[in-house]
Symmetry: D2
Subunit: 377 residues, 4 copies
């Protein structure tokens, strides 16, 4: 015979006088004690929180200044070593609304990673999807399944689940970049696997090519190698270079100026990093895009299901998220929680405001739960 539930119940129920709830009575109190004993919670005490008219995010609209991040990362560079166990000198944004956990939003992780001259971050792999984005600097190579990928300003490096990877700083300067991962989503849904690899790569693996092999194979517009015809869930391209991104954004604005439809809205160009094997998002859980507003232009005000993290890549402007508003400049990171209205405006005295964005949208699209809405302006 088995004895069950021999643990103290975490359920605590209190009869209160409130709309939609039964009037407090001794009988109700007794019922609630029974619920607690049997690990039960009624809908009627929870419905306001669980079934709101539209999403009310626990996460806050919040801004992190790049200068402050880099300064703290640099201090960490001097006193915290990189190695097995801690694995990475990565310092994550902790959304003020999420209880001090290293979660930029309920689903997204965003961190500054920092590597001192000559340092190596040891090889490992995990099922969380990841990417790197470089707002400034260069000189680190990320080695993914043995393929060395240069990191330079403006480059976007996606890295799908379960790929071995290590980092090496081949210069005499520290380098910072941001890591984006779906760590909170994998944590919440309890779907993570992790494996450590070699502590150090062979010196011969720290080669420093201008282009990774993945780019030499894949980064040709509209062309696929006939030797690689599978539809892959994650992109096989390990780097999307700034030169290409910049040109694509410029062309959209020029086409618009010539009178053709190319932009999202007047003065607002945007490209999505995509998987050349299927035209879809680079990673199954994260959408990654670069947006450019020309001088004085303003984006349409949009709400959408799910959350985004933005980093200012260049320029300066004004950003409004729900009831918050900030002037932003290069490197600044901010968060747009679910269903909060978002607008960005490029300062009139800057050529453009370039915003790197990543979001959890593919999760919602995959389960048919995505909604968006444009507000009148």
């Amino acid at each position: 015979m088995n004895v069950i539930n021999a643990i103290p119940s975490p359920v605590r129920l209190k009869a209160i006088s409130a709309p939609g709830q039964p009037e407090p009575t001794p009988a109700l109190e007794q019922l609630y004690r029974g619920f607690e004993r049997e690990m039960l919670v009624p809908l009627w005490t929870e419905i306001g929180d669980l079934m709101p008219v539209n999403p009310k995010s626990r996460a806050s609209a919040h801004l992190w200044h790049w200068d402050a991040l880099v300064q703290l990362a640099d201090e960490a560079g001097r006193i915290v070593p990189v190695g097995r166990g801690g694995e990475r000198r990565a310092i994550a944004l902790a959304n003020p609304g999420l209880g001090g956990r290293p979660f930029a939003t309920p689903t997204l992780w965003a961190a500054i990673q920092y590597l001192m001259p000559g340092e190596n971050a040891p090889e490992h792999r995990h099922t969380q999807h990841a990417f790197r984005f470089v707002v400034e600097g260069e000189g680190v190579w990320t080695v993914v399944n043995g393929d060395s990928v240069r990191m330079s300003r403006g480059d976007f490096l996606p890295q799908g689940a379960w790929a071995w990877h290590a980092h090496h700083n081949a210069t005499t300067q520290p380098m910072a970049w941001i890591d984006g991962l779906d760590i909170p989503f994998a944590h919440y849904t309890e779907s993570q696997f992790f494996e450590t690899g070699r502590d150090t790569l062979d010196p011969g693996e720290y080669i420093k090519p201008d282009l990774s092999r993945s780019e030499r194979l894949w980064a040709h517009p509209g062309l696929r190698p006939v030797s690689r015809l599978e539809d892959l869930p994650v992109t096989p391209m390990l780097a999307y270079r700034w030169q290409d991104t910049d040109r694509a954004l410029n062309e959209q604005l020029t086409l618009e100026a010539e009178g053709y439809e190319a932009t999202l809205s007047p003065g607002h160009a945007a490209v999505r990093y995509s998987n050349p094997t299927n035209g879809r998002d680079v990673l199954p859980t994260m959408r990654c895009e670069m947006h450019r507003l020309r001088a004085g232009a303003q984006s349409r005000t949009k709400r959408e299901v799910g959350s985004s993290v933005f980093q200012v890549f260049d320029g300066a402007g004004l950003v409004t998220v729900g009831e918050r508003q900030w002037n932003v400049r290069r490197g600044d990171l901010f968060v747009v929680p679910s269903w909060q209205p978002f607008t960005a405006t490029c300062d009139a005295d800057h050529a453009s405001l370039d915003l790197f964005r990543f979001s959890d949208t593919p999760i919602f699209e995959a389960v048919h739960a995505y909604r968006e809405q444009f507000d009148a302006q």
Copy 2:
């Protein structure tokens, strides 16, 4: 000029001596104060929790006895009215590992719903996907977008997002059933919308047909109405009747006895409720199945990413989940957390053990994060 971050930081960091973490020093303490001030958390203090070798669920393997649930629901029936605001007399399983919240698992809601003779649960709709499963009783009709659906023992009633629905007990007996929803997932990912409908339906809408219109249109094996050719994300069939489910399970076991491949493993038959427009899961976020083990048969021991809730529909048996083990009987509900090994065995003196199961597997398949593993036995 804007002032940011004028709220107290929720981040609390403590330098400790531990593997993979930097040695506590005054400099480290000072760095941590800086992190707290700027709402930052380093990976090295969190990696053990966030990046385990495999999923370590916060949820517990847990069993709820049906008798206890029904007794409490019946008491609630006598003292808690059903109406607008509370919306439903639904009493949810609260997993002991999940802090007293009404979450059976991190992603799934499971509740007993109870309706007294003549009662109406008012009309509403929400983006959370839902289903009803009837372990015993009959006499309630669920009205979905104006289509009356009878509920009888063994019936499975899926109900996709954003469909108007109300319940009516047309008998002189109370009736209980279970509701399954993706409420915790929608809550966590902040993707919920909700709308109230009419407080009471017209009496003429409480018709009591043997089959809903949805079944008359769709419940014909392999046949689609040519007037309805869209690929729908949720099944258009509002009821899957026990008679069909039972026959399908029996045929699998009979085919196995005749020497043909039909079962999952010896003595273990299983059917999945499916969407006839695309052959996929009935709901984008929940997989729903009925399993039957014949007398003495044992399922293969399986671990998988994601969580399940089971209800015993009939028979009796022994269930092992991780380190827990229970004898189960009709109506009992239990939870299998992510990556915990699960085995079920039918008692030798029962004809069969029938287990209704629902899980969050479609979410993981949609984002390519699903894994499963069969353990040697």
Copy 3:
């Protein structure tokens, strides 16, 4: 060194005076001789045929009377044996517009097959997709990959590419049915493979079950065996029974009478035989449907890309195809060529007109070339 083109040219060109063509001159005649020598043909002499404003089918609208077919098949039954080499006593419809070839339409094969008491049609397999439809009679079993499938009036038996199959008449009466295949399409596109199997099955394989194993596993509405979760290009159900088809059609008409949307147009019910693994057509190249017009009802006049073959299953009515019009009755077969307008009307003194239809539509949908158009009436 190789000598090429040492065969007489099949090209014959004639300079003529016609719109869009160059004026005949000696120089043009000389040019045409050069084209002939080098196996070339100019667009300008062919464009009218190859690039019409809309499809002009070479196939004719044509009707075959069932009585005549059965009588000839019966004569063949007495003088033409069934066996290896000829393989089947199948007599195909030869569209008058297609040069005497056994092609009902440019892409579709339709034949009456006839099996005398006790006869066996030997086992073979081929990449052409096939189905059987039974307008009358019973007593033949088709054995598909070892699974015996009963054939009775109204049953539809799809059989995808490369499945072993044989037929056996287990009664003392001859039996006729129709075979539908994509033989002309496979012939034209040159994609056929064929293999002979055993000349006779073991007597033990000629079992006569009421339901095939495929039906016992699959023919349960909305339920899939968890042991078979692949998305298959062809349906795994080897028979769709008349009882189900008839009930589904009746329900549509009853729902319509009750005021609900269920039919294609007033008085016109239709079901499509579908693949339960993906909700799509039973076969990748052939769409198969059953249509029912109630007494006096008329279908909407429709043109579509691609061709159809119809067989009258029951009732009587008037059918219009392009400029042809026929009174039709049980068993009659007729063809609707590409883009010819089609209308059917049930006689007022018959309860219904039931029309079995198959078409090549999936081919056009697969390559995004499908169009349809409804004519004003």
Copy 4:
């Protein structure tokens, strides 16, 4: 009352003594007369042709020399005007096995198109899919839906169904290129629509940009405009430039030389022109690729369902198709019929053999009828 079948039957049947066929008798002759009268053909007289063990193509392996084509096209340029009615000065390959029709293979059209200095080919559109490939020359612009596309050596210009298009030669030299279309497939399946547009474009539309607007929007590796997120059945990129193709092929051979997997087989690089919205073929009915064999390299010998047309873009080599073998050089076109083994070898004294290829493979993949086989060498 209607009289049917009042036309002479095209069916002609002859009783002969042959394997698999019934012995000729007067009764059989009489049966055949009945078949002829009723427009019927038995399987047993046709099965050898219709159901072979594997595809036996009616099309021949055949070679067309570019020099001869260009010379005849040039003569046509002098005596045959371009204009409405004839529409294009296109001269099509007529496969010797296909009865003198302008069909390179049963499904594919390949023609040399020729435009004299200053000439315009008038605007039209059709549902046949098309592309242009330029083996030499430049100076013609193709205007697709108002977007001017430059044509230069090595460029590939796909153009999906129903797009308005015209050509203009802006130079003082004639220019030749090849057109590939699915005209024979659309003709056979009877799915063609055609519309004439303006006879001449406005002079302002004959702009001569280096890059079309489609390229400026789309030709950026791995980047999609966020303003264009639909999954399109045909590629939105109107030109794939030789510079990109050449670099992609070179990278594959260099990667192979460095020891990495990148080529199809040793010394054999290949890229497929793909649709950036879904990673699939540029056109739903035609696969288009560029292959490069380095000096002395030989491709694997391959058979496949469906037919291909090749044009030698550069280099020289030896080509074997079934029992035919040819030495080929720049511009030569040849055909590989269904299931005939194909091998290409680059001459040892040329740097490479570059072969442009198009085939009907997407049709077979779409209906699950594709097979391929590599022969031992």
